[in-house]
Symmetry: C2
Subunit: 183 residues, 2 copies
């Protein structure tokens, strides 16, 4: 059967997760499609990368939807549960779209950058709400806390890659470490 455009994106993401510097030829092969066909869907490499970026951002947005981030920000209620749900959900997304954690090519597209900033801003709002509610300590800059989440996701990714921890332990380790630290 034919390989849809969406499938190509999916498989490209999978492959780029393992070989971040893969060429268009490699990606095409991994997607089960001829190189020319890949170019018919995405005229240039950058176009493909940007498409992957959008896919990742859609998943990110879906996370925000599913955990009810908007409602929490509006009402100021259930911020703690929302924060926990956000962290756990991030693990899944980061595992699948982790390439975006490193891929600097995504940072080229202005719209994508703006979208990322919007999404990040919402999470920072949540962090601030948690600080006001006493769920998170207020003496740490919100943006630092946000970057901490990012860094710990990198740690999760690395731990899984090296086989240091079991997948089912990652939620607990991330939450515990993020919230209570290591001492």
């Amino acid at each position: 059967m034919a390989v849809s455009r969406e499938q190509i994106v999916t498989r490209a993401i999978e492959h780029l997760n393992q070989a971040p510097a893969a060429s268009m030829a490699e990606i095409a092969q991994a997607a089960g499609v001829h190189r020319a066909t890949l170019h018919r869907h995405f005229a240039t490499r950058e176009e493909l990368i940007v498409a992957l970026g959008w896919r990742a951002h859609e998943a990110w947005q879906r996370v925000h939807d599913e955990i009810g981030l908007d409602a929490a920000l509006r009402t100021g209620e259930r911020v703690e549960e929302t924060l926990h749900a956000l962290l756990v959900a991030h693990i899944e997304v980061a595992e699948e779209h982790g390439f975006a954690l490193t891929e600097h090519l995504v940072g080229i597209n202005p719209e994508l950058v703006r979208r990322a900033e919007e999404l990040e801003a919402r999470e920072i709002e949540l962090i601030e709400a948690c600080q006001r509610a006493g769920v998170l300590r207020a003496d740490l800059p919100p943006r630092w806390v946000s970057n901490t989440v990012y860094g710990l996701l990198v740690a999760v990714r690395e731990s899984l890659r090296r086989g240091d921890v079991a997948r089912r332990d990652t939620s607990r380790l991330l939450l515990e470490t993020f919230l209570r630290g290591t001492s």
Copy 2:
């Protein structure tokens, strides 16, 4: 005056920190040396990258020396101070040799990988010693804790790059977050 081999390595590191995908031509220019001369010092790109890797590992080893990691491991004393010193020192090294945090090319050289594992093993020993001494909680896998440090260094790097935190605050933020978490 002539540019020594060591200077080339230093400047190459500086430049690759800002442009991780720089070509040999770019690196040569940044080092103030003709491209042919760069190739006379390092026949191939991989050879250069490996040299940068060794440089980074030397700095890493020096950190272990300066904080007296060996003595702490042997005697089991002052493990807490040693841990703190290690974290703070890592910030400096990570800032200078941060490219190695991402650079996958370093992972090609077997000797370099082995050296990194040795150095990492010593830090894990320290973590375990801290757990035995009650300085670190014992319910987290030592390797996870080690990866946490790595992840938080990524967070520091990112925070500085984006201007989210002041340089002089990084030590405090890293220590606080690592030890006591965010809640």
